[in-house]
Symmetry: C2
Subunit: 173 residues, 2 copies
DNA sequence: GTTCATGTGTTACTACATAACAAATCTGGT
DNA sequence: ACCAGATTTGTTATGTAGTAACACATGAAC
């Protein structure tokens, strides 16, 4: 669609799409990623990952907990947070610090620099992987003698579809 | 000290320094910034700003509350959060999302792109203003049709002084 | 099949943040 | 000085996010 698409790890859910395919694709990649690293994708962890992939919106831990609680009698905060910690450690989900929420990762195999675009209109989150940008951050920090371990870039703004077809909340005065 | 120093809005508190001057300087700038924008720097807000500037480490809201509670009988969470909201709106403090903590801003008058270096060893936070980097982020987002409103860049790593004189927690085995 | 590591259940708690309304204080106009 | 409206602060209560600690269960490895 444009020249930078190869850097997009996770798209905005613009327009109608078969979200079931998003989910099943993500689950398949998750199986592979876990198998490759010898980690166990248990039923619980699998289910939590599915719930995080429930939409293209970031998902709150306690929302996951609420749904999980309907499905199994025993579900407490640690149940969810432990699963999320695991999924993060394998690179299957990311935590968005500015939202206290989680999103599924579209490309768990690739490096994770943590670049996110957050639409303030529809709430959807896209993930980028722009190595040049990451490199730019690294150099800027290293000029000050700072050794970078992890970069978090969270950009708020309005996504394309919300710009072209903005949500109207009521008649303008 | 190096060619990029003009981009440093807030330094790591490396080595001994007269922190009283940091604070008094910040308070003077705060008075100016508020006067310029017609906002009121009340005694309460002033005191909260001083407490945030208490060190070069990020400060938690409830730590501010604890100190404030010793000084005045009436101090509840809203007391602190309202003051912090005000100070943020004037650009006098920043919130570090990944830490749930606050730091004073070294240059309230200048644009605030929100670029932070967080040392995982000593906990100190530096603030940068690298317009080229901000521009790079903006362009990367705009290629996807995304209109940037606010950029948050929080980089974890090890600062220069912690690299050169690392904190030793015990004898190495 | 016993052992050890890993995963999950359970209870309790700590930390972070805001809603809603009441009281006090400041500001500008007369 | 006085009043009216706006802003700031006090107060109570509640909502939201995340973790500690320990018990129990399950899996893999020998």
């Amino acid at each position: 669609m444009n020249t930078a698409d190869h850097t997009v790890l996770r798209r905005f859910a613009n327009g109608v799409h078969d979200h079931g395919r998003c989910v099943s694709g993500a689950m398949a990649k998750a199986e592979l990623a876990c198998a490759a690293s010898g980690r166990r994708l248990t039923p619980l962890r699998r289910r939590v990952l599915e719930l995080v992939w429930g939409s293209h919106l970031p998902v709150k831990a306690y929302d996951v907990l609420a749904i999980l609680g309907q499905e199994r009698a025993q579900a407490a905060p640690p149940t969810v947070y432990r699963a999320l910690d695991f999924l993060q450690s394998v690179g299957l989900v990311h935590r968005i610090a500015s939202l206290n929420a989680f999103v599924g990762c579209g490309e768990p195999q690739r490096g994770h620099v943590g670049q996110f675009l957050i639409c303030t209109q529809c709430g959807a989150v896209a993930e980028l992987a722009d190595p040049a940008l990451a490199q730019r951050v690294r150099r800027s920090a290293e000029r000050l003698g700072f050794a970078v371990q992890r970069e978090t870039i969270e950009v708020e703004g309005v996504c394309r579809s919300c710009r072209t077809s903005p949500v109207v909340l009521g008649p303008s005065p």
